[in-house]
C-alpha cells in the first residue's frame, strides 16, 4: 500500500513538473528576448556587414515576430530539438552533455564533502556545546558562510598549488581526481558551513526532547542515543537544506569553474550570456531547472525514510 501511495505521489510530482518547465521556458524566453545585444551582431565582431547580419538573423529566426519565436521555442523543447549554439554551431545537447561530467563531479563531490563534514561537525558541536572546540567549529562555519567562493578559491590555489606545490592549480589534466580536489573543497565550503550550523541547532533541540531523555533513561549508550534516536529526526531540516543548496551549488559552480579553468556548465552558461548565445542559455537554464526539480523531489521522497510518520497521500 505504501509503495502504491509513493508511486502515485511520484506521478503527481512528475506531472506538476510540466507547468514548472513551461513557466521556466517562458521566463527564459522573455529574459533572453528583452536583453539588449543582438547575437548576430556579436558574431560579426566589431565591424559588421549589414547584409550578412541580415542573413544570420534570418537563419536564427530572430527576425520572426516574438509570438512565432516563442511558439518555435516551445515546439523545439517538446520535440527535444534544442538547436545549435549561435557561437560555434555545436548542438546544445552536445554542449551540455560534454560539460555535464565536470559539473556533476564538482556538485556531487562538494555535496558529499559538505554533508560528511557538516553533519559530523554539527553533531560534535551540539554534543560539546559551549566548549572550546564548539567555538572553533562555529568560527570555521562563520568563515565558510561569509567568504566569497572567489576568495576561497584564490587562497587555496595560492597555498596548495603555488606555494606548496602539492596540488595542480587549474585545468583538468587528463581527468585525474587530484585536479578536482581544490574545486570541490572551494565549492563545498559554503554548504558545509550552513549544514554545520543547522545540524548543531536542530541537534540541540532534539537532544532535549522527551524521547531522547527516555532513551537515555532506558540505559542506552550515548552513541546509540545520538545516532539512532536524535540524529535521524534532526536530519529532516538538514535534508531540506541539501535540496535547496543544489541551486546554490549550480550558481557557485560558475565562479569555481572560472577560477579553476574547468570546462563545466557554469563556464558554458556565463559565456553564452556574454555572447547572447540564446540556444545555449535556454538549454542550460532548462537543464538546471530540471535538476533543481529532481533534487527537490528526491528530498521530498527521502522525508519518509527519516520520519515514517510523513505520508505520501
Amino acid at each position: 500500500m505504501g509503495v502504491i501511495l509513493m508511486f502515485a505521489y511520484l506521478i503527481r510530482r512528475i506531472l506538476t513538473t510540466i507547468p514548472v518547465i513551461i513557466g521556466v521556458i517562458l521566463v527564459v524566453f522573455i529574459l533572453t528576448t528583452i536583453v539588449p545585444g543582438d547575437p548576430a551582431r556579436i558574431m560579426m565582431g566589431q565591424r559588421g556587414d549589414p547584409e550578412t547580419i541580415k542573413l544570420i538573423r534570418e537563419e536564427m529566426g530572430l527576425d520572426n515576430p516574438i509570438p512565432v519565436q516563442l511558439y518555435d521555442f516551445y515546439k523545439d523543447v517538446f520535440t527535444f530539438n534544442l538547436g545549435r549554439s549561435y557561437r560555434n554551431n555545436q548542438t546544445v545537447v552536445q554542449a551540455i552533455v560534454g560539460r555535464l561530467p565536470v559539473t556533476a563531479t564538482l556538485a556531487i563531490g562538494s555535496m558529499i564533502v559538505a554533508v560528511l563534514l557538516g553533519v559530523s561537525l554539527g553533531i560534535f558541536s551540539a554534543t560539546h556545546q559551549y566548549t572550546f572546540l564548539d567555538y572553533i567549529s562555529m568560527f570555521i562555519s562563520l568563515i565558510g558562510m561569509s567568504a566569497p567562493v572567489y576568495f576561497i578559491g584564490l587562497l587555496l590555489v595560492l597555498l596548495f598549488a603555488t606555494h606548496l606545490g602539492w596540488i595542480p592549480g587549474t585545468g583538468l589534466g587528463n581527468g585525474e581526481w587530484i585536479y578536482y580536489l581544490l574545486p570541490i573543497v572551494t565549492l563545498g565550503v559554503r554548504p558545509m558551513a550552513l549544514i554545520v550550523r543547522l545540524t548543531r541547532s536542530t541537534m540541540l533541540e532534539v537532544i532535549h526532547e522527551d524521547y531522547v531523555t527516555t532513551a537515555r533513561s532506558k540505559g542506552l549508550k550515548e552513541k546509540a542515543v545520538i545516532f539512532k534516536h536524535a540524529l535521524k529526526n534532526a536530519l529532516i531540516p538538514v535534508v531540506t537544506i541539501i535540496g535547496l543548496q543544489t541551486a546554490t551549488l549550480l550558481s557557485g559552480v560558475i565562479l569555481t569553474e572560472t577560477i579553476y579553468s574547468l570546462p563545466g556548465l557554469g563556464r558554458l552558461s556565463i559565456q553564452a550570456v556574454i555572447n547572447r548565445d540564446f540556444p545555449i542559455i535556454r538549454g542550460v537554464v532548462l537543464f538546471m531547472a530540471l535538476v533543481f526539480v529532481v533534487a527537490n523531489l528526491l528530498v521530498d521522497l527521502s522525508y519518509g525514510f527519516f520520519d515514517p510518520r510523513i505520508r505520501y497521500d
Binding site: R41, G48, P50, T52, L55, R99, G171, L172, Y260, S261
Partner: protein
C-alpha cells in the same frame, strides 16, 4: 716546448668546445610539446567564420592563405610563391608540393587523403567563402571580386573573377582598383580549405578542421584544451633546409583568469603567458619579456550628431584636457604609445610628425568657454565591462574633472555596448581597433568614412566630404607615394576635426620561458604568432 704545445692544445680545445656548445645551443631541436594558454575558448576553427583573435591564433597554425604578414607587418609569400599585378588582374603562381593534412584527431584519415593543393582548391575556397549560404562574416572583404554581387544575389553560379589558369596558377580579377587587395588576402578567412572535408562534415566542420598548416588538428575539449600535432608532410623548411615544424605538439589550455594564467606560468606549466598589470613589475625585467608597438588604436568616440559633441571646440577641448603619457604610465604601466592620430606606428602611412593634441588644460578651458560651457558640463562615458577599460576611464575621469567636465562612468557588456553605440544612441563611448590588414584604409576608411556610419565601423558618425574623397582615393590609388599623401591629408583633417579622443596605440607583449627559441612578437599582436619556427631548447 711541451708546455707550449699543451697551451695551444688547451686553447684550441676551449675554442672548439665553446663553438660546439654554441652550435648545439643554436641548432634547432626537434620534439617537445608547446604549452600555452588562451583566455577563452576559441569559437571558430573554421576560417570562413572566425572574426576574433583567439580563433585566429588557432587558425594560423592549421591553415594558410596565399600571402601572410611577416613579423614586421610586410606582405610575404605563403602558398603563393609570387604574383603579378596587371591593372585589376592578380595572377598568383602557387607553390608546388603543398599538401592538405592527411589525418586528424589521432590518426583518422581526412576525406581529402592528404592530396596536393591546386588552383582549383582556391577557386572552390573563394566560392565557398563568398557563398551566401556560408554566411561568412568577412566575405565582404573581397566584395570587389568580379561577379561578387551576382553570385551573392543568385544570378551567377560562381565568382566570375576567380579562375584557375592551370594547376598552379590562380587569377583573381577585381572590378575596381583596390590598393589593399593583397593585404586583405592575408586575413585568416581567406585560407585554403579542402572541399571534401568541408562537405563531409557539413555543420560540424568547425570541429574537424583540415588545412595545410604546420600543425594538424588533434583534439578540442571545449573550454578546457585544444591540441594540435605536427604535420609531417608540411612544405616549409628552415634556412638550413631542415623540415618544419620543430615541435611535435601544440597544447593550448583555456584559462580564463589572468591571475591563474600567471600562476601556471610560474609553476612552469606554460611556456608563454600574457602579463596582466598586477604582474607587470615582476615580469618586465625578466630576460624573456618582450614588448612592441602593435597595429591598434584605443580611443573614446564622440558622437558628432549629439550634444555637446556637435561643437568642434568641445571635441578639441576633450583632446587637450588629457595627459596621455601620464595616463599610460600611471594606469597601464607604460604599455602604450600616446596617440596623436588614427594610424598606429608601424603601419604604412603613419605620420610621426603629426602634431595631434598635447596636454593643455588651459587651452581646453578656453575652448569650453568659447563653446558656451565656461563651467564645463556633465557627460556619461559608456564602456564595455573590463578591469582595464575601467582603470583608464577612472584615470581620464580625474583629468576631465580638472577642467570642469564631470564624466559619469557606465559599463555594460560588449553586446549591449556595440548595439547602442552603432545605433548612434551613445554620445561618448570607449572603442578600440586592431588592424585586420596592414593598411591605413583599414583605419581611416573603415572607421571614419561616412559610408561606414553605423555597424560597419564609423561609430562617431563623422561625415566630411573632403575626408570621404581622400579615403576613397586611397583605396583606388596604387602609387604608394600618392597614397601616403592622401592618407596624410585625411588624417590631418580628421585629427583637426577630432571626432575621437585619441588616447593611445596598443602594444603587444609576451613573457616566454628561457628554453623557448625563435619566438618573436609580430606587429599584429601576440595572437598572430605562428609556431612553425619555434623550438624548445630542453
Amino acid at each position: 716546448m711541451k708546455k707550449g704545445y699543451l697551451a695551444v692544445f688547451l686553447v684550441l680545445m676551449l675554442v672548439f668546445g665553446l663553438t660546439a656548445v654554441g652550435y648545439v645551443a643554436d641548432s634547432p631541436k626537434y620534439g617537445g610539446v608547446w604549452k600555452d594558454a588562451l583566455q577563452s575558448n576559441p569559437p571558430d576553427l573554421d576560417p570562413a567564420q572566425a572574426t576574433d583573435t583567439t580563433s585566429s591564433e588557432m587558425i594560423y597554425q592549421m591553415f594558410e592563405a596565399l600571402v601572410e604578414y611577416d613579423n614586421e607587418g610586410n606582405i610575404a609569400p605563403l602558398l603563393a610563391e609570387s604574383w603579378d599585378i596587371d591593372g585589376n588582374v592578380y595572377t598568383f603562381h602557387l607553390r608546388e608540393g603543398v599538401y592538405f593534412h592527411d589525418t586528424i584527431e589521432g590518426g583518422t584519415p581526412t576525406a581529402n587523403g592528404g592530396r596536393e593543393v591546386t588552383a582549383e582548391d582556391w577557386v572552390w575556397t573563394f566560392n565557398h567563402i563568398c557563398d551566401p549560404a556560408t554566411k561568412s562574416p568577412r566575405a565582404y572583404f573581397v566584395d570587389m571580386l568580379v561577379g561578387y554581387d551576382e553570385f551573392r544575389e543568385g544570378s551567377a553560379d560562381c565568382l566570375a573573377g576567380v579562375k584557375a589558369l592551370d594547376k598552379y596558377t590562380l587569377e583573381l580579377t577585381i572590378d575596381r582598383p583596390f590598393a589593399p587587395f593583397l593585404a586583405t588576402l592575408a586575413y585568416n578567412t581567406f585560407s585554403v580549405m579542402p572541399k571534401e572535408d568541408v562537405e563531409k562534415w557539413g555543420e560540424d566542420w568547425n570541429f574537424h578542421p583540415v588545412g595545410t598548416g604546420a600543425y594538424k588538428f588533434d583534439s578540442w575539449d571545449q573550454d578546457s584544451k585544444l591540441v594540435m600535432v605536427k604535420h609531417e608532410n608540411y612544405w616549409m623548411k628552415d634556412n638550413a633546409g631542415n623540415q618544419l615544424p620543430y615541435m611535435d605538439e601544440l597544447e593550448f589550455r583555456i584559462i580564463p583568469d589572468y591571475t591563474m594564467m600567471w600562476e601556471e606560468y610560474e609553476m612552469d606549466n606554460l611556456y608563454q603567458t600574457y602579463v596582466d598589470d598586477p604582474f607587470y613589475n615582476n615580469a618586465k625585467d625578466r630576460e624573456n619579456y618582450m614588448q612592441r608597438p602593435m597595429l591598434g588604436t584605443y580611443y573614446y568616440g564622440m558622437n558628432v550628431e549629439k550634444e555637446p559633441f556637435k561643437d568642434l571646440k568641445v571635441r578639441k577641448a576633450m583632446n587637450y584636457a588629457i595627459n596621455r603619457p601620464a595616463l599610460i604610465d600611471l594606469v597601464m604601466n607604460g604599455r602604450g604609445t600616446p596617440a596623436k592620430g588614427v594610424i598606429p606606428p608601424g603601419m604604412f602611412g603613419y605620420n610621426p610628425d603629426l602634431e595631434g593634441y598635447s596636454y593643455n588644460p588651459e587651452k581646453a578651458k578656453e575652448l569650453l568657454a568659447e563653446a558656451g560651457y565656461p563651467n564645463g558640463f556633465e557627460v556619461t562615458l559608456q564602456y564595455n565591462t573590463s578591469k582595464g577599460h575601467k582603470r583608464i576611464a577612472e584615470g581620464l575621469q580625474a583629468q576631465y574633472q580638472q577642467i570642469g567636465i564631470d564624466v559619469n562612468l557606465k559599463n555594460v557588456d560588449w553586446g549591449t555596448h556595440l548595439d547602442s553605440v552603432e545605433r548612434g544612441e551613445v554620445p561618448f563611448f570607449r572603442m578600440g581597433w586592431v588592424a585586420d590588414y596592414n593598411d591605413p584604409d583599414n583605419f581611416l576608411y573603415v572607421l571614419l568614412n561616412s559610408e561606414n556610419i553605423g555597424p560597419k565601423g564609423n561609430y562617431s558618425r563623422y561625415n566630411n566630404p573632403a575626408f570621404d574623397e581622400w579615403t576613397k582615393q586611397g583605396r583606388l590609388q596604387t602609387d604608394p607615394e600618392l597614397r601616403k599623401e592622401v592618407y596624410s591629408n585625411a588624417e590631418k583633417l580628421v585629427v583637426d576635426e577630432a571626432p575621437w579622443v585619441f588616447i593611445y596605440h596598443y602594444t603587444t607583449h609576451s613573457l616566454v620561458k628561457p628554453c623557448v627559441m625563435n619566438y618573436e612578437l609580430p606587429s599584429f599582436g601576440q595572437y598572430s604568432n605562428k609556431f612553425r619556427n619555434v623550438w624548445l631548447n630542453k
